[in-house]
Symmetry: C2
Subunit: 208 residues, 2 copies
DNA sequence: GTCTATATTTGGATAGAC
DNA sequence: GTCTATCCAAATATAGAC
């Protein structure tokens, strides 16, 4: 009898159409806001009827979920590609933060989907969320290698990252008013943890 | 002829109903998310027909705008009430940041409305936005009195505030994991600007 | 897999009687 | 000012022919 064909052309085409749908979805949310995704418009821009989308995704939230997974994967890939971590701890921390802020600022809809929860009914599926979790764990290890292993200091560092990101995107979208501050912010942080290491105790230094 | 009545009972009642509508609107967005405000549900919870709302607000966005104005005013009032600014600059900065983070964390829907832009068609009216602007200017003056007058350092300070806020609300809602870090963050920041003042130049200090 | 047709829900907003 | 009645638009989702 005949063997199974090596390539499944049908599956390939299916995947390609799925990708096309997602690409159109990204364009739509980038243009009109994350919450404004509409299956009608989406189908229309790729020359389909709205109902045909259901051959590729079970629901609107399934589309959001696929987008979430894509975004999280982009984070992993771009980090691997663009961020050859320097050996020097201080420079490594700067590189991490620079990457994070730039990645977020590059696409505010993606940022909103990955890091905020503004879509009323949506939350990522366990499979999609795992990408983000693994990612965060890896970041933790990297920071540990830079000497940031104290959990509160890790929290402070992430707050620095999201703060610069948030301000940049909210108050100077497309500019670099807060991006410019990244290096100085990291130096401030690094100085702080270095001082702390020298005089531990309660974590407070005398005022003068 | 008869004089004008001193009190306009009709206007008073109108204002009271407006307030009642807004209170119900806040409850709804706190429960279901800012974007999920629905005029039908809103009218229903206060025992009205949806169309009756139009006697008080011209549109859904007019309701959002009134909520925005309320939130901004609450910020002003609560700041005035709860935050007797200490004389010591460091303590004053801590008080400012503590107030900001706690105010935001107390109501994430309000935070989203005031400080983020997640409602597709909405932006505050000039009148409502002015409350926020005046507020921000006042914050600038306060920080200037604390020795933070360099604009980039002001930006860094605000980033610290939004970062702690964002992390607290996103990753530990109802807790205090990042609230606990406020004092230390401000000390770190204050140490930084103090050092900078001692050795100006390019704003960078030698690494060791 | 795609289409037509349609169900169903929900939303914001208006007209006109009372 | 409030109601009833309705309009209109848009949304998600399903059924069934081809």
């Amino acid at each position: 009898m005949l063997g199974e064909p090596v390539r499944d052309r049908r599956a390939e085409r299916h995947a390609a159409t799925r990708a096309e749908i997602l690409e159109a979805a990204w364009e739509q949310v980038r243009a009109n806001g994350l919450a404004a995704l509409s299956l009608r418009d989406l189908a229309r821009t790729i020359g389909m009827q709205p109902s045909s989308l259901y051959s590729y995704f079970d629901s609107k939230n399934a589309i959001y979920d696929a987008m979430y997974a894509q975004g999280a994967q982009q984070f992993v890939d771009e980090q691997k590609a663009s961020m050859r971590t320097p050996d020097d701890p201080l420079e490594a921390l700067k590189a991490v933060l620079r990457f994070f802020v730039n990645f977020c600022a590059a696409d505010s809809a993606r940022y909103q989907l990955l890091f905020q929860r503004t879509i009323p009914g949506f939350e990522p599926s366990p499979a999609s969320f795992k990408i983000s979790e693994d990612n965060l764990a890896e970041l933790g290890e990297l920071l540990a290698r830079c000497g940031v292993s104290d959990p509160p200091m890790l929290d402070l560092f992430t707050a620095l990252g999201t703060g610069l990101t948030d301000q940049q995107m909210s108050n100077d979208p497309g500019g670099d008013r807060w991006v410019r501050l990244i290096d100085e912010a990291v130096e401030m942080f690094y100085q702080h943890i270095t001082n702390k290491a020298r005089k531990p105790g309660k974590g407070r230094r005398p005022r003068s």
